[in-house]
Protein backbone atom coordinates (compact mmCIF):
# COMPACT_ATOMS: atom_id res chain seq x y z
CA UNK A 1 0.00 0.00 0.00
CA UNK A 2 1.33 3.42 -0.95
CA UNK A 3 2.14 5.74 1.93
CA UNK A 4 -0.06 8.84 2.39
CA UNK A 5 2.93 11.16 2.06
CA UNK A 6 3.90 9.54 -1.26
CA UNK A 7 0.38 10.13 -2.56
CA UNK A 8 0.53 13.75 -1.38
CA UNK A 9 3.86 14.25 -3.17
CA UNK A 10 2.52 12.68 -6.37
CA UNK A 11 -0.64 14.79 -6.17
CA UNK A 12 1.43 17.93 -5.61
CA UNK A 13 3.31 17.06 -8.80
CA UNK A 14 -0.03 17.15 -10.64
CA UNK A 15 -1.32 13.57 -10.50
CA UNK A 16 -5.12 13.68 -10.21
CA UNK A 17 -5.13 9.88 -9.80
CA UNK A 18 -2.84 10.07 -6.78
CA UNK A 19 -5.08 12.73 -5.27
CA UNK A 20 -8.19 10.61 -5.92
CA UNK A 21 -6.50 7.68 -4.13
CA UNK A 22 -5.46 9.99 -1.32
CA UNK A 23 -8.93 11.32 -0.60
CA UNK A 24 -10.76 8.04 -1.19
CA UNK A 25 -10.35 7.10 2.46
CA UNK A 26 -11.76 10.45 3.64
CA UNK A 27 -14.70 10.95 1.28
CA UNK A 28 -17.36 9.04 3.22
CA UNK A 29 -16.18 10.44 6.56
CA UNK A 30 -16.28 13.98 5.17
CA UNK A 31 -19.69 13.45 3.61
CA UNK A 32 -21.06 12.12 6.91
CA UNK A 33 -19.76 15.22 8.71
CA UNK A 34 -21.03 17.58 6.00
CA UNK A 35 -24.45 15.97 6.18
CA UNK A 36 -24.74 17.11 9.79
CA UNK A 37 -23.81 20.65 8.71
CA UNK A 38 -25.96 21.12 5.58
CA UNK A 39 -29.67 21.57 5.03
CA UNK A 40 -29.92 19.00 2.22
CA UNK A 41 -28.13 15.96 0.87
CA UNK A 42 -27.39 17.86 -2.36
CA UNK A 43 -25.75 20.67 -0.37
CA UNK A 44 -23.60 18.15 1.49
CA UNK A 45 -22.53 16.59 -1.82
CA UNK A 46 -21.72 20.03 -3.26
CA UNK A 47 -19.74 20.88 -0.14
CA UNK A 48 -17.77 17.64 -0.48
CA UNK A 49 -17.02 18.31 -4.14
CA UNK A 50 -15.95 21.89 -3.37
CA UNK A 51 -13.77 20.67 -0.52
CA UNK A 52 -11.94 18.13 -2.65
CA UNK A 53 -11.47 20.59 -5.51
CA UNK A 54 -10.12 23.26 -3.14
CA UNK A 55 -7.83 20.70 -1.51
CA UNK A 56 -6.41 19.67 -4.88
CA UNK A 57 -6.03 23.22 -6.08
CA UNK A 58 -4.27 24.44 -2.95
CA UNK A 59 -2.37 21.28 -2.17
CA UNK A 60 0.90 23.18 -2.58
CA UNK A 61 0.01 25.15 0.57
CA UNK A 62 -0.51 21.99 2.64
CA UNK A 63 1.98 21.90 5.49
CA UNK A 64 3.03 18.33 6.25
CA UNK A 65 3.33 19.20 9.95
CA UNK A 66 -0.49 19.01 9.97
CA UNK A 67 -2.36 15.74 9.67
CA UNK A 68 -3.87 15.58 6.21
CA UNK A 69 -7.31 14.85 7.68
CA UNK A 70 -7.09 17.99 9.86
CA UNK A 71 -6.34 20.08 6.80
CA UNK A 72 -9.21 18.49 4.85
CA UNK A 73 -11.67 19.04 7.69
CA UNK A 74 -10.65 22.66 7.94
CA UNK A 75 -11.54 23.16 4.28
CA UNK A 76 -14.75 21.16 4.70
CA UNK A 77 -15.90 23.26 7.67
CA UNK A 78 -15.37 26.46 5.68
CA UNK A 79 -17.22 25.09 2.67
CA UNK A 80 -20.14 23.95 4.82
CA UNK A 81 -20.36 27.43 6.36
CA UNK A 82 -20.22 29.02 2.91
CA UNK A 83 -22.96 26.81 1.49
CA UNK A 84 -25.13 27.35 4.56
CA UNK A 85 -24.71 31.12 4.32
CA UNK A 86 -26.01 30.95 0.74
CA UNK A 87 -28.97 28.79 1.79
CA UNK A 88 -32.06 30.26 3.37
CA UNK A 89 -32.97 27.03 5.21
CA UNK A 90 -31.66 26.93 8.79
CA UNK A 91 -30.68 23.62 10.37
CA UNK A 92 -33.00 24.42 13.27
CA UNK A 93 -35.93 24.49 10.82
CA UNK A 94 -35.35 20.86 9.88
CA UNK A 95 -37.59 18.92 12.19
CA UNK A 96 -39.00 15.94 10.32
CA UNK A 97 -37.50 13.08 8.40
CA UNK A 98 -38.76 14.37 5.08
CA UNK A 99 -36.86 17.65 5.27
CA UNK A 100 -33.85 16.65 7.37
CA UNK A 101 -31.15 14.83 5.38
CA UNK A 102 -29.46 13.69 8.58
CA UNK A 103 -32.59 11.98 9.87
CA UNK A 104 -32.99 10.27 6.49
CA UNK A 105 -29.54 8.72 6.75
CA UNK A 106 -29.70 7.54 10.35
CA UNK A 107 -30.25 3.86 10.80
CA UNK A 108 -33.33 3.37 12.97
CA UNK A 109 -32.61 2.99 16.67
CA UNK A 110 -34.60 2.98 19.90
CA UNK A 111 -33.43 6.37 21.12
CA UNK A 112 -32.74 9.64 19.34
CA UNK A 113 -29.31 9.78 17.72
CA UNK A 114 -27.10 11.90 19.96
CA UNK A 115 -25.78 13.84 16.96
CA UNK A 116 -29.29 15.04 16.21
CA UNK A 117 -29.50 16.25 19.83
CA UNK A 118 -26.03 17.76 19.51
CA UNK A 119 -27.06 19.70 16.44
CA UNK A 120 -30.01 21.07 18.39
CA UNK A 121 -28.18 22.09 21.58
CA UNK A 122 -24.68 23.05 20.36
CA UNK A 123 -23.62 25.91 18.15
CA UNK A 124 -21.76 25.32 14.88
CA UNK A 125 -18.17 25.43 16.07
CA UNK A 126 -18.84 23.48 19.26
CA UNK A 127 -20.70 20.83 17.26
CA UNK A 128 -17.75 20.57 14.85
CA UNK A 129 -15.29 20.30 17.74
CA UNK A 130 -17.39 17.56 19.34
CA UNK A 131 -17.65 15.69 16.06
CA UNK A 132 -13.91 15.85 15.42
CA UNK A 133 -13.22 14.68 18.97
CA UNK A 134 -15.68 11.80 19.28
CA UNK A 135 -16.44 10.72 15.71
CA UNK A 136 -12.96 11.32 14.29
CA UNK A 137 -10.79 10.77 17.40
CA UNK A 138 -8.83 13.94 16.75
CA UNK A 139 -6.53 15.42 19.37
CA UNK A 140 -7.31 18.77 21.02
CA UNK A 141 -4.40 20.29 19.09
CA UNK A 142 -5.72 19.06 15.72
CA UNK A 143 -9.26 20.22 16.50
CA UNK A 144 -7.91 23.67 17.39
CA UNK A 145 -6.09 23.83 14.07
CA UNK A 146 -9.10 22.62 12.07
CA UNK A 147 -11.36 25.21 13.69
CA UNK A 148 -8.71 27.94 13.86
CA UNK A 149 -9.32 28.25 17.61
CA UNK A 150 -7.08 28.15 20.64
CA UNK A 151 -6.51 24.90 22.52
CA UNK A 152 -8.08 26.39 25.64
CA UNK A 153 -11.24 27.35 23.68
CA UNK A 154 -11.45 23.79 22.39
CA UNK A 155 -11.02 22.25 25.85
CA UNK A 156 -13.56 24.50 27.52
CA UNK A 157 -16.17 24.05 24.80
CA UNK A 158 -15.72 20.29 24.62
CA UNK A 159 -16.33 20.21 28.35
CA UNK A 160 -19.51 22.27 27.93
CA UNK A 161 -20.63 20.06 25.05
CA UNK A 162 -20.08 16.95 27.18
CA UNK A 163 -22.16 18.47 29.93
CA UNK A 164 -25.01 19.37 27.56
CA UNK A 165 -24.93 16.00 25.77
CA UNK A 166 -24.60 14.13 29.07
CA UNK A 167 -27.88 15.73 30.15
CA UNK A 168 -29.46 14.70 26.83
CA UNK A 169 -28.22 11.15 27.28
CA UNK A 170 -29.58 11.01 30.85
CA UNK A 171 -32.90 12.38 29.66
CA UNK A 172 -33.11 9.73 26.96
CA UNK A 173 -32.13 6.99 29.42
CA UNK A 174 -34.71 8.09 31.99
CA UNK A 175 -37.33 8.41 29.25
CA UNK A 176 -36.75 4.89 27.94
CA UNK A 177 -36.79 3.50 31.50
CA UNK A 178 -40.08 5.27 32.19
CA UNK A 179 -41.62 3.82 29.04
CA UNK A 180 -39.97 0.45 29.60
Amino acid sequence: MIDEQQLIDAAKAGSAEAFADLVKRYRVRLLRFLLTRCASFADAEDALQDTLIAAYRYLHSYDSRWRFSTWLYRIAIRNAQKIRSENIVELGDLSDEESDPLLQCIVASESENLWVSARRVLNDDVFAATWLRYAEDMSINDISKALDRSASWTKVNLLRARKALGSELNRQSSGSEAYG
Partner: protein, 134 residues
Protein backbone atom coordinates in the same frame (compact mmCIF):
# COMPACT_ATOMS: atom_id res chain seq x y z
CA UNK B 1 -13.82 5.43 27.15
CA UNK B 2 -16.84 6.73 29.03
CA UNK B 3 -20.48 6.09 28.23
CA UNK B 4 -21.04 9.40 26.43
CA UNK B 5 -18.01 9.00 24.17
CA UNK B 6 -19.05 5.43 23.31
CA UNK B 7 -22.58 6.55 22.52
CA UNK B 8 -21.36 9.42 20.33
CA UNK B 9 -19.06 7.13 18.40
CA UNK B 10 -21.78 4.51 17.96
CA UNK B 11 -24.29 7.12 16.85
CA UNK B 12 -21.86 8.58 14.31
CA UNK B 13 -21.48 5.11 12.81
CA UNK B 14 -25.27 4.90 12.51
CA UNK B 15 -25.24 7.75 10.01
CA UNK B 16 -25.24 5.74 6.83
CA UNK B 17 -23.94 7.62 3.80
CA UNK B 18 -22.42 6.55 0.53
CA UNK B 19 -20.71 8.55 -2.17
CA UNK B 20 -22.98 7.99 -5.15
CA UNK B 21 -21.62 7.03 -8.56
CA UNK B 22 -22.83 10.33 -9.95
CA UNK B 23 -20.97 12.31 -7.27
CA UNK B 24 -17.91 10.15 -7.88
CA UNK B 25 -18.05 11.01 -11.58
CA UNK B 26 -18.55 14.71 -10.84
CA UNK B 27 -15.56 14.81 -8.52
CA UNK B 28 -13.33 12.89 -10.93
CA UNK B 29 -14.32 15.14 -13.83
CA UNK B 30 -13.68 18.27 -11.75
CA UNK B 31 -10.27 17.07 -10.65
CA UNK B 32 -9.19 16.13 -14.18
CA UNK B 33 -10.09 19.60 -15.40
CA UNK B 34 -7.82 21.20 -12.81
CA UNK B 35 -4.16 21.48 -12.10
CA UNK B 36 -2.81 22.32 -8.66
CA UNK B 37 -1.75 25.94 -8.24
CA UNK B 38 1.92 26.52 -7.59
CA UNK B 39 2.88 23.56 -9.70
CA UNK B 40 6.18 23.94 -11.53
CA UNK B 41 5.68 25.39 -15.01
CA UNK B 42 6.48 23.10 -17.94
CA UNK B 43 10.05 23.36 -19.16
CA UNK B 44 10.59 25.53 -22.21
CA UNK B 45 11.64 23.56 -25.27
CA UNK B 46 15.20 24.35 -26.33
CA UNK B 47 15.49 25.90 -29.77
CA UNK B 48 18.60 25.94 -31.97
CA UNK B 49 21.00 28.89 -31.59
CA UNK B 50 20.41 29.93 -35.24
CA UNK B 51 16.73 30.45 -34.38
CA UNK B 52 17.71 32.94 -31.68
CA UNK B 53 19.96 34.88 -34.08
CA UNK B 54 17.38 34.88 -36.84
CA UNK B 55 14.61 36.12 -34.55
CA UNK B 56 16.87 38.81 -33.04
CA UNK B 57 17.96 40.10 -36.46
CA UNK B 58 14.36 40.09 -37.68
CA UNK B 59 13.37 42.13 -34.65
CA UNK B 60 16.16 44.67 -35.18
CA UNK B 61 15.32 44.99 -38.89
CA UNK B 62 11.65 45.52 -38.10
CA UNK B 63 12.52 48.21 -35.55
CA UNK B 64 14.74 50.03 -38.10
CA UNK B 65 12.00 49.95 -40.71
CA UNK B 66 9.48 51.37 -38.27
CA UNK B 67 11.87 54.18 -37.27
CA UNK B 68 12.58 55.01 -40.92
CA UNK B 69 8.89 55.10 -41.82
CA UNK B 70 8.06 57.34 -38.84
CA UNK B 71 10.88 59.75 -39.75
CA UNK B 72 9.83 60.01 -43.41
CA UNK B 73 6.20 60.55 -42.40
CA UNK B 74 7.11 63.31 -39.99
CA UNK B 75 9.11 65.12 -42.74
CA UNK B 76 6.17 65.02 -45.12
CA UNK B 77 3.80 66.24 -42.47
CA UNK B 78 5.98 69.21 -41.54
CA UNK B 79 4.73 72.55 -42.98
CA UNK B 80 6.47 75.96 -42.69
CA UNK B 81 5.30 77.66 -39.61
CA UNK B 82 3.91 81.19 -39.92
CA UNK B 83 4.10 83.88 -37.33
CA UNK B 84 0.71 84.57 -35.85
CA UNK B 85 -0.94 87.71 -37.16
CA UNK B 86 -1.71 90.39 -34.68
CA UNK B 87 -5.37 90.89 -34.42
CA UNK B 88 -6.57 94.42 -35.34
CA UNK B 89 -9.31 94.22 -32.77
CA UNK B 90 -7.13 95.57 -29.98
CA UNK B 91 -6.29 98.66 -32.04
CA UNK B 92 -9.88 99.31 -33.04
CA UNK B 93 -11.30 99.01 -29.56
CA UNK B 94 -8.92 101.55 -28.07
CA UNK B 95 -10.51 105.08 -28.29
CA UNK B 96 -8.33 107.59 -29.99
CA UNK B 97 -8.07 110.81 -28.05
CA UNK B 98 -6.97 113.88 -29.91
CA UNK B 99 -4.86 115.64 -27.39
CA UNK B 100 -4.34 119.27 -28.27
CA UNK B 101 -1.10 119.95 -26.60
CA UNK B 102 1.54 122.57 -26.93
CA UNK B 103 5.06 122.35 -25.82
CA UNK B 104 5.84 124.85 -23.10
CA UNK B 105 8.33 127.52 -23.95
CA UNK B 106 10.49 127.99 -20.93
CA UNK B 107 11.80 131.55 -21.02
CA UNK B 108 12.41 132.13 -17.31
CA UNK B 109 13.40 130.05 -14.35
CA UNK B 110 11.20 127.01 -13.69
CA UNK B 111 9.60 128.41 -10.54
CA UNK B 112 8.55 131.57 -12.35
CA UNK B 113 7.12 129.53 -15.23
CA UNK B 114 5.04 127.47 -12.79
CA UNK B 115 3.62 130.58 -11.15
CA UNK B 116 2.75 132.02 -14.56
CA UNK B 117 1.04 128.80 -15.59
CA UNK B 118 -0.99 128.73 -12.36
CA UNK B 119 -2.00 132.33 -12.95
CA UNK B 120 -3.08 131.43 -16.49
CA UNK B 121 -5.17 128.53 -15.14
CA UNK B 122 -6.85 130.87 -12.65
CA UNK B 123 -7.61 133.31 -15.40
CA UNK B 124 -9.03 130.52 -17.55
CA UNK B 125 -11.19 129.36 -14.62
CA UNK B 126 -12.45 132.87 -14.07
CA UNK B 127 -13.30 133.21 -17.73
CA UNK B 128 -15.20 129.92 -17.77
CA UNK B 129 -17.19 130.96 -14.67
CA UNK B 130 -18.11 134.23 -16.29
CA UNK B 131 -19.17 132.43 -19.45
CA UNK B 132 -21.48 130.05 -17.64
CA UNK B 133 -22.86 132.83 -15.42
CA UNK B 134 -21.55 131.91 -12.01
Amino acid sequence: MDKLAKQLRADAALIDVQVSDELERRITASLHGLSPEGQEPPTIRQRPAAFWWASSLTGVAAALIVIAVINSQSRLDEAPTRAPEISPIAVLTTPIIDWKTESAMLTSPLRKELEDLQADIKKAEQKVKEDIGL
